[in-house]
């Protein structure tokens, strides 16, 4: 008797429940689309050439015995055509470590100076420095290439007198050239991130330290660096990912001792031969950034927010 009366509410509730779970469905559908490609690459990196060319990676489950580590063994083995991936990995590390440390050190000092020191033209200089974030890197390549390879000379017109402005240090085509370039390109963002953080530290801390007779250097070393550690970590993660994943700067400045990204593009270029190696290589390149990303995601997000959301 009460049945007809009670039927509508569950239907309505079910409808509402369905609508309520709609966001979950949509979000997880996007998650699926966003992760499947990477997963497909991962599976393919364990398959044989014949399998890759004849069936999709999703069929790999049918015959798990066909999976092999051979591709990984191949990329880490030195051949006449291709050096071992280890070599490229070491080149990458040789570029990334200094290219991450140097900008942090330089930017931390500058961020402190711009936040807590009064000097003429401070705002103006800060804006000029930070606005360089938007400058396309391409604007600097030709002159930097010339600077690293030949130094800089100025010929005074009329007098025909050439003057060495910057000596040829012989760092063309070396990792050092890549660090210096990464440092210059990374500094504007680094200064912005660290400045946003350091300038928000409470003023009273600095005033108390000044009254106690601490110099700027002591304040920076003893107070600012420990307090700014989250911001330093945030930028370090940022710069690490950016330098590790960089292809353009390395491709422009290096013709040998290239990092892994350049090696991968060269591998992609040779269609046909070594086709199966690119999956394993791409995955090897991705492993370290992904580990860093998943373990230090908190810092990475903080860096993003500090860089884009004011404060």
């Amino acid at each position: 008797m009460t049945a007809p009366a009670t039927i509508p509410p569950p239907a309505g509730r079910r409808m509402r429940q369905l609508l309520g779970s709609l966001p979950t469905w949509v979000v997880w559908l996007v998650v699926l689309l966003w992760t499947v490609p990477t997963f497909g690459l991962f599976v393919s990196s364990f398959r044989k050439v014949i399998d890759i060319n004849e069936s999709g990676w999703w069929t790999a489950w049918n015959d798990l015995d066909n999976l092999t580590f051979q591709n990984y063994r191949d990329i880490f083995r030195e051949t006449a055509a291709q050096p071992s991936m280890w070599e490229f990995a070491l080149n990458s590390i040789a570029i990334v470590v200094p290219a991450t440390i140097i900008p942090i050190a330089v930017a931390a000092f500058a961020a402190y100076g711009f936040s807590w020191m009064e000097f003429r033209g401070r705002n103006w200089l800060f804006i000029a420095l930070v606005s360089m974030i938007a400058l396309p890197n391409q604007m600097a390549f030709v002159p930097l290439l010339q600077l690293f390879n030949n130094g800089a000379r100025l010929t005074i017109p009329g007098l025909d007198w050439t003057f060495v402005l910057f000596p040829d240090l012989g760092i063309g085509n070396t990792a050092a050239a890549v660090w210096l370039t990464h440092t210059a390109f990374g500094l504007p963002l680094a200064v912005l991130l660290l400045h946003n953080f350091i300038s928000q530290l409470p003023r009273s801390v600095f005033e108390a330290a000044r009254i106690d007779g601490a110099s700027h250097f002591t304040i920076f070393w003893r107070l600012v660096l420990p307090l700014a550690r989250p911001a330093l970590a945030a930028f370090a993660v940022f710069q690490f990912l950016w330098t590790w994943n960089d292809y353009l700067i390395a491709a422009v400045l290096l013709t040998d001792n290239e990092p892994m990204t350049v090696a991968l593009v060269n591998l992609v270029g040779e269609r046909g031969s070594n086709f199966q190696l690119r999956f394993a290589s791409a995955f090897v390149i991705m492993v370290i950034p992904l580990i860093v990303f998943f373990s230090l995601q908190r810092h990475f997000v903080r860096g993003l927010l500090a860089g884009s959301v004011k404060g």
Partner: protein
């Protein structure tokens, strides 16, 4: 391994040297007050060092037996310069000691430069001066810029070559299906803006008209949203040229009748607006309403897509990239940020969507190249083509098929959207979280529905963040390079400015390479100016 050890040694040495220089400079400034001559001596030593280096490298020393021999080759000249400078500086400082006040002033004036100086020097030498030199080089004669004289040739080469820049076929924009649909969406948006305003502040008669109008507009909007999606799906499933729905749409949309209806509607709404302006009635338009702002966004997207898929040249392609990726990533990121708040497993889902940010563009290119893979015969091994094959449609080369041009660009752009959506989502969801609860509470008390409070309360609050996300994406996407390089390398009309700049650099055409860089810069100058204005406001 050798390289690795060299790297470690170089890093340690250069860091130590930098630390010594920095601490030395700091200590030298410390001495300005208590021991002035020490300070002037240090300044003299630095000046002498620079002068010695300049003399050594320029060969200014007479080539006599004493000076020109072993001394000239080595570091001794530089060191001698430093020593002489130090002695001179110290002597001068001892003779001319300024008052204590003046020395204090020196100290506090110089100290900031010790801290900010290294960063400024790096950016000046690594970015600003090279940037200026690139502009200079782009006007120089000859491929290497060594020949005397200036020329505009490199720019005229770009803007007269049909491959790089052309407005040929611009008239086709107006008959492009997407463009007309976009125009229609813009008209719907304007009408919705009027109707929404009328329902809030209008007279009784206006409210009645607006209510009826809204219903009609809802239908029109549904058609405008559904038609492109269906067309898109269908053109995916079959070749764009064989799509039945697209054929019907083409007949409908590109027939003269539709064109005239849209044009008359657009002119009509313009007239209504003009009339109210002339009568000095302020026409109330509610662009913030969900319906009008969504239709406006849709209209803008369709108009831009229609225009940019018709024009084909490298410069337009670059603009298309910027609009598509910045627009899609932001819209998708915003949608996900809103939905994720209500979804189960929010944190995990967000992490996975965010993950492509950690993958290099080269890696992303390999991943997606494989997704789009096409096999001429047999089983399809690329996921997308396998799905098409499974549904009984013919396979296609997303990047390489001639029938896909210019939409092959879209499939490369989508890789960038895949990478950047996570960025937009994370930043926007932080902004949504930061909207004060009191505001939402107040809106709820006033009887606003969830949709209303999102569009009327949250959207205005996160507007600055949306702008930041869009400008950041514009800057990133304008210089897109790796993806195009690693997928098509610019073949089949997918070239972009940065790739062309790189190829010219590889060919050692330094001047025309510089010209491409300057064109690239011109595209981001509006963003730079906007950012500078914003920072000026923030710091003031």
């Amino acid at each position: 391994m050798d390289q690795f050890i060299t790297m470690i040694i170089t890093v340690v040495v250069s860091l130590a040297a930098a630390a010594i220089v920095f601490v030395g400079a700091d200590r030298a400034v410390d001495q300005a007050v208590p021991r002035w001559p020490v300070f002037t001596g240090a300044v003299g030593a630095v000046l002498g060092l620079v002068l010695g280096a300049a003399a050594q490298h320029n060969g200014w020393l007479p080539a006599g037996p004493g000076l020109g021999g072993p001394l000239k080759a080595g570091w001794l000249v530089i060191l001698a310069g430093a020593a002489a400078g130090a002695a001179l500086g110290a002597g001068a400082g001892r003779m001319l000691q300024p008052s204590l006040d003046r020395r204090n002033a020196w100290e506090s004036r110089l100290r900031p430069w010790v801290f900010a100086g290294p960063a400024l020097a790096f950016v000046a030498i690594g970015l600003v001066i090279p940037g200026l030199r690139t502009v200079f080089l782009s006007f120089k004669n000859g491929p290497r810029g060594r020949e005397p004289g200036f020329t505009l040739e490199h720019y005229t080469d770009i803007f007269t070559d049909d491959e790089y820049f052309t407005v040929e076929g611009w008239a086709q924009i107006f008959t492009s299906r997407l463009f007309i649909a976009g125009l229609a969406a813009a008209v719907v948006a304007a009408a919705a803006a009027w109707a929404s305003a009328a329902r809030i502040v209008g007279s009784a008669k206006q409210i009645a008209v607006a209510g009826r109008l809204m219903k009609a507009l809802g239908l029109a909007a549904a058609v405008l949203v559904v038609a492109p999606i269906v067309g898109f799906v269908e053109s995916l499933a079959r070749d764009p040229n064989q799509s039945a729905i697209m054929d019907v749409l083409t007949v409908i949309v590109s027939s003269r009748v539709t064109l005239w209806v849209v044009v008359v509607l657009a002119a009509g709404s313009l007239l209504v607006w003009m009339r109210s302006r002339i009568r000095r009635q302020r026409m109330e338009l509610d662009w913030g309403a969900p319906s009008s702002s969504m239709m406006l966004a849709l209209g803008a997207v369709l108009l831009v897509f229609g225009a940019l898929s018709t024009l084909h040249a490298v410069v337009w392609n670059n603009v298309w990239w910027v609009v598509t990726v910045a627009g899609l990533s932001t819209a998708l990121g915003l949608m996900l940020a809103v939905l994720a708040e209500r979804a189960r497993g929010e944190r995990f889902a967000k992490t996975l969507i965010f993950m492509p940010m950690a993958i290099s563009m080269v890696g992303a290119a390999v991943i997606w190249d494989f997704m789009y893979e096409v096999q001429p015969t047999g089983n399809q091994t690329g996921l997308f083509n396998a799905v098409l094959q499974g549904l009984g449609f013919s396979s296609r080369g997303f990047f390489i098929n001639a029938t896909m041009i210019p939409w092959n660009n879209f499939w490369i752009m989508f890789i960038m959207v895949w990478i950047q959506t996570g960025f937009a989502m994370v930043v926007l969801s932080a902004a949504i979280r930061a909207v004060p609860d009191e505001l939402l509470e107040a809106a709820r008390v006033d009887g606003a529905s969830e949709t209303q409070s999102f569009w009327r309360v949250v959207m205005p609050q996160i507007r600055p963040t949306i702008i930041v996300v869009v400008t950041t994406l514009i800057v990133i996407v304008t210089k897109v390079f790796d993806l195009v390089k690693a997928t098509t390398n610019g073949a089949n009309r997918t070239n972009v400015l940065a790739n062309e700049m790189f190829d010219q650099l590889r060919d050692r055409n330094f001047t025309s390479s510089s010209a491409f860089a300057v064109v690239l810069l011109a595209l981001v100058v509006p963003v730079m100016v906007f950012n500078i204005r914003r920072m000026q406001k923030d710091l003031a």
